[in-house]
Symmetry: C2
Subunit: 110 residues, 2 copies
DNA sequence: CGTTCATATGAACGATTGCTCATATGTTCA
DNA sequence: TGAACATATGAGCAATCGTTCATATGAACG
């Protein structure tokens, strides 16, 4: 399968393309959104902060599973943690989370 | 680890939460964005349609690899295909793609 | 201190993912 | 029809992912 010619187009597109590093970061970010448990957690935190065991109870899942996922979300700067005694409260870290989910929701409900 | 009480909060959050089906769809959608090759393809199609072999050449990847990923993108309604003779041209199917990527990009470059 | 509650984390295991390779389908043209 | 080109697709395999289980850390309180 020898390719036909598109030399002109390619050079132009190449200029518009962000760096590999940025693209990788972008992919890694969306990967975090690509799991139903993490989506559920983000929806749970949509209105207010919550502690780990409340989220676990809400979703009917293990504390451990939730904690692992919260770590993933935190590493991606999607949630922030605040400690109060024994309890750790998590909240959405900024409005990008809400925007991204909202855009996705629009797409699937069109 | 017996949990402490949060009966009030949980009921409220449960009402705001979309159905499992919607959440799964949402997760599946973002999963598609969660791969650098597919991100690259969407960026390539950002301005104009392209045929499969042009994308393959642009990204320095196999025609087969690109074709598989285009199928994934098409199944998620993120790209549309148009045939012209032997060639198949792909393009972004709507502006949600651009919006979602733009929001993600904002998040990582804050 | 030691106990209890809340959370975090490492190892392990099944499930999913993205690529490659081989091959099939579809289109044009001689 | 048959050859050449463009694309699609199925099987297989290494790598990654999400959970579980066991255990560790950390804070409050007697």
């Amino acid at each position: 399968m020898r390719e036909h010619d598109h030399s002109g187009l390619l050079e132009h597109v190449r200029e518009e393309m962000p760096s590999d590093e940025k693209l990788q970061e972008l992919g890694d970010l969306f990967k975090v959104f690509g799991d139903i448990t993490r989506i559920r957690i983000m929806y749970a935190l949509h209105e207010d902060e919550m502690c780990v065991c409340a989220i676990a109870e809400l979703l009917g899942m293990t504390q451990s599973a939730i904690s692992h996922q919260l770590k993933t979300l935190k590493d991606a700067d999607l949630v922030a943690a605040r400690r109060e005694g024994k309890t750790v409260y998590y909240s959405l870290s900024d409005d990008h989370v809400r925007s991204i989910i909202a855009q996705g929701y629009e797409h699937i409900t069109e």
